[in-house]
Amino acid sequence: MPELCTTCSLAGCGLRVGLSKYFGKEAVFGGVLTAGDADGVRWQMHATGSFGTPTSQPEISALGDSSLLLSWTADDDRELAALVCRGMQCLRAAGIPGVTGIVPGFASLAVHFDLVRVSVSQMQRVISEQLGGTSSVIPVPVRRIRIPVCFDASVSPDLGEVSQFAGRSVRQCVDLLCRTVFSVRMIGFSPGFPYLTGLPECLAIPRRSTPRVKVPAGSLAVGGGQAGIYPEESPGGWHLIGRTNVKLFDVKRDVPCLLEPGDEVQLFEIATLTPECGNHL
């Protein structure tokens, strides 16, 4: 069982992070949005966020004739993440007619639209207005989702190698991972696969030289300075350091994807993957 919360009376989210630095000077708030029972495993979702205006205009370029790519630059990677995320939330809230999808990348945001309804140049104008105006200040909570992970040697074949790379014990590495607040920069590779940034530098091991043909579903993996969790069994080139029994993607759920770009993720350790949750592993 995860420890009880000290700050918001439910879950151990003592790690509220003030994101105001990146967004402006508005207050940080916290609280539990929801806690769920996914496949018999508790995950928890908190709101810890802030609001303000995007601090810079992106460079806008065309991606074909019915998509625009909005690119930001920033010295600091977390700041870059915040800018992309803010832009996404702002444009989503604006509900621009003709827009069919808004897809974040690492340093950019794609806005897809129906070109028969609105042309590239019209859309470019609307987006600039939306991102520049003060009307775009909408409070958006940042969800923090706590995900149980088992770090037992049986499900973490590469944890030893990663700990050697980090020059720390396996225990120290696990503690470090559980203290880290990751953020979901984008979802890609396969449905529901989160690219998590915020990995401590000592754990930033390069990808494996030979990718595995089969990575089990639920595997927590690190590679190339990022972390991720494989929602389904697939090939993969990252190092496997743990496993969760939470299903990140399940078409049978009303909301198939547990995580969305902009979410924060915190891991907590569980001793074993309970057998009743093993059916999808």
């Binding site: 370029s61 065309a62 991606l63 074909g64 004739d65 019915s66 998509s67 790519l69 996404m88 069919t100 999808g101 808004i102 897809v103 974040p104 990348g105 690492f106 340093a107 950019s108 945001l109 794609a110 897809h112 070109l115 028969v116 042309s119 590239v120 140049s121 984008m186 979802i187 890609g188 590779f189 396969s190 449905p191 529901g192 696969f193 690219y195 389904e232 078409v251 198939p256 994807c257 969305e260 770009p261």
Partner: protein
Amino acid sequence: MSVVARVIRSGLMTTVQDLGRPGTRHLGIPCGGAMDRLSHRLANRLVGNPDTAATLEMTLAGEVLQWFQDSVIAVTGADMAAEIQGPGERREACPQGRPVSVTAGSVLKFGVARRGCRTYLSIAGGWDVPVVIGSRSTLLRSELGGFNGRALHAGDELRGGPHEVELARKSAEAATGWFVRLQDLPSAAGTQLRFLPGTHFGLLNVESQRVTEQAGFVVRSESDRMGYRLSGPPLCFREPCQIRSEAVVSGTLQLPPDGQLLMLMADCAPTGGYPRIGHIISADLSLAAQLKPGDRFTLRKVSQEMALDAAVLQERQFAAAVRLAMLPACSR
């Protein structure tokens, strides 16, 4: 709804498709949907369906279907020499581009694509499979949506009718002597696809920029609904070009380090990590979807204005053709 048809013999790869899942690309879910949207939409309109109804997309060679109910269907896209075998062994060609009545007991037979690659089969009321994440389209890689997330097999039973249709019966009765064809299929003489330069086009060396427009490209056999591998003159950048993953779209021309282009298609992932040298314009995507392995084409660079004009013109022609098709026979 009861069973409308059963697959007697499956084609090479036939999937249920609609307009896909454009709104969940930020969750890593490909947009997907019909590769040749124009043919898919036309097949639907000819039987009175909305564009969003599901059709069957047959690839290179089609099915043989046993029919159990009187139905109104339409066939569009690649020419697979479709044939209707009536209950009394009477055989007749099944015309394309107009509504056709099929009676219970008939067998509808598709052959090998003579021209083009993908044929669409609609039924008045639409094909009925469960809606998964907002769409009936099949995403093969994730085994999601469509008919149990896979291509059709012999023995599969197809149901129809999630959409309300009134016009179909009348238009099928009236449909003789005319057909609608909206695009020329790729021919042996070669096909031209128009493209807009991508973010990294200017980073190609001068020779590569020039040759992109002058050389021919061939669709390789390792091509599928996610994308086409092309063979052509090797292209290279002035200096190595590394990018972080960002959005790609159907039609994006990616250049991996081996110098041979990839043309992303309907089931492409929403993001990709290879440099983007161009994007096939929206108006030419349906034509691109009709290329088959071995087909040759050339690329022509155009402007945003030309891309928009082409899309608007195509939409206007589509609307006009559909209007004409729906007129009563006497006033046509």
